[in-house]
């Protein structure tokens, strides 16, 4: 087959194969293993590149780091039950050259601190405190139970799925925030200029505050949700098609089209929705 190919095409194939081999050689894979003991703490400080964390099947911490050039290295320091991983620039590098992608497998009770300017940051199945930060990083947290979750970005979107019984604080400037099936004792989402979407039942006895300057706040909840809701938008307007019982006394002054308040079922979770110029929609699932 190759012999029947035009001579030019054959040369192109050879060059491409050479480039692929060079690229593979440039990508440097490092692997580390640690025994940190129960309730360990792991931090990852990365400038460019992703950080993916999943639970391990044993008590070990496994780290795989893919370095895209020799201009960076990974500094790994273990002190007792604490492990710090840091991308260290050996010389000036472009974002591509300085990129390091980390894949960690840690015991589910390991607390995490992760910073990556570009991200993405993905955490799944970890039931401990975590602080996740990135300027433009796309942050995703899935399947956690308990623990405090702090997610801070500037423009990076934040997504929380199947988060139970945790304290959650999400702050972004322009990164949209999406929460699906997420509940907790105290859940705060604060953005400046981004949409906040919540789809879930708000659990039981939780305290939820979703606030922004502009950008819509969309809340979808099942008929079984037990909530005490107040919603205010100074200039954006509010709409509600979820059946709520009106309150004799409300915590906020009510203005048609700009605010509403009410309870559903026992009203066990407090939900405050506040925007300056965004629209607030509350819908029944």
């Amino acid at each position: 087959m190759i012999t029947s190919m035009p001579r030019g095409a054959l040369w192109v194939l050879v060059v491409l194969a050479g480039c692929a081999a060079l690229a593979a050689a440039a990508e440097n894979r490092k692997e580390f293993h640690y025994n940190l003991g129960p309730h360990a703490a792991v931090s990852v400080m990365n400038q460019f590149g992703g950080v993916t964390i999943t639970p391990s099947s044993d008590s070990q911490v496994g780290v795989v780091a893919l370095l895209r050039s020799t201009k960076v290295e990974v500094d790994a320091t273990q002190r007792g039950g604490r492990l710090e991983l840091r991308t260290h620039f050996l010389q000036n590098a472009t974002p591509d050259e300085g990129r390091v992608d980390y894949e960690l497998r840690v015991p589910a009770d390991t607390s995490l601190t992760v910073r990556s300017t570009s991200g993405p940051i993905s955490v799944q199945g970890i039931n401990a405190d975590m602080t996740l930060e990135g300027d433009a990083a796309n942050i995703v947290v899935r399947q956690t139970d308990g623990g405090h979750i702090h997610a801070h970005t500037l423009s990076g979107p934040v997504r929380l799925e199947d988060v139970a019984r945790g304290d959650v604080e999400v702050i972004t400037v322009s990164g949209p925030v999406t929460m699906e099936n997420a509940d907790g004792r105290m859940v705060t989402v604060n953005t400046t200029d981004a949409k906040i979407t919540y789809d879930g039942d708000f659990g039981d006895s939780g305290d939820y505050t979703f606030a922004n300057h502009s950008g819509d706040i969309d809340v979808t909840l099942p008929a079984s949700a037990s909530v005490d809701i107040t919603a205010t938008s100074e200039k954006g307007g509010v709409s509600n098609d979820f059946p709520l019982h009106a309150l004799a006394h409300t915590a906020i002054p009510l203005t048609q089209g700009r605010s509403f308040a009410g309870t559903a079922n026992a009203g066990s979770s407090s939900v405050r929705l506040r925007s300056f110029s965004g629209k607030i929609h509350v819908k029944k699932k």
């Binding site: 300017t117 433009a136 400037v173 322009s174 604060n190 200029d193 305290d207 205010t232 506040r274």
Partner: protein, 219 residues
């Protein structure tokens, strides 16, 4: 009169001006004079924290979480330390806490900037005018701090991650618009809890923006 003697009756001096001997020491001693000025300034600022309301549980839970996260309080100490905190002492200012946090970040940034600038100046002046290099920084002017700080933060970002400068500038504008609108709400409804919360949240955004920007200048 010695500085120790003077400072032993500082509270009386600040309240009543002090006697002739103390006034004379105040005029002659730059250290004590600066100390009195600083304390008077702090006292003036503290008056802004006028009693308005008790803090919500949420505020204290947030502080508690932060202390725990930073390792300043251990699990076993939670109850005793935070449980015994005189809440009413902080009560008046719950909506000002993030404002204070943003200001602290700003002051920290200014200090860092001044120190860096001072060090650079010292190096430059090592063979020349050393006196100029150790000249004290001008006093902080809080009224114009926001804009100055924004520019300094953006300069830091430009110096360390130039590719992010434009993104930070845009986000800074967004956050400043948030703060301006929230301030407007508080001005028109000073007793409205929702408005104060909005202002608190706007300053929380600013504090986070500063914090994330400064992380880029850390080694």
């Amino acid at each position: 009169m010695t500085c120790a003697e003077f400072q032993a009756v500082l509270a009386y001096i600040i309240d009543n001006g002090g006697n002739a001997e103390q006034q004379e020491h105040l005029r002659q001693c730059a250290v004590c004079s600066d100390l009195v000025s600083d304390l008077k300034y702090i006292a003036e600022q503290a008056k802004l924290l006028v009693p308005m309301m008790d803090p919500s549980k949420k505020v204290w839970d947030g502080i508690k979480s932060s202390l725990e996260r930073e390792g300043l309080v251990k699990d076993s100490a939670r109850g005793s330390l935070l449980g015994s905190t005189p809440l009413s002492r902080w009560g008046p200012a719950n909506w000002l806490l993030p404002v204070a946090a943003a200001l602290l970040v700003a002051i920290g940034l200014l200090y860092y900037q001044n120190r860096t600038t001072g060090q650079q100046a010292s190096l430059q002046a090592s063979s020349g005018n050393a006196e100029a290099a150790i000249a004290p920084a001008p006093p902080l002017q809080f009224a114009s701090m926001d804009d100055t700080q924004d520019q300094q933060v953006l300069s830091e970002v430009a110096a360390h991650v130039p590719a992010l400068t434009q993104a930070y500038r845009l986000d800074m504008q967004r956050v400043n618009a948030y703060i301006a609108d929230a301030r407007g709400l508080v001005t028109s409804n000073p007793d409205d809890e929702e408005s104060r919360q909005a202002l608190m949240e706007a300053y929380q955004q600013k504090a986070m923006l500063y914090k994330m920007a400064m992380r880029h200048s850390l080694p």
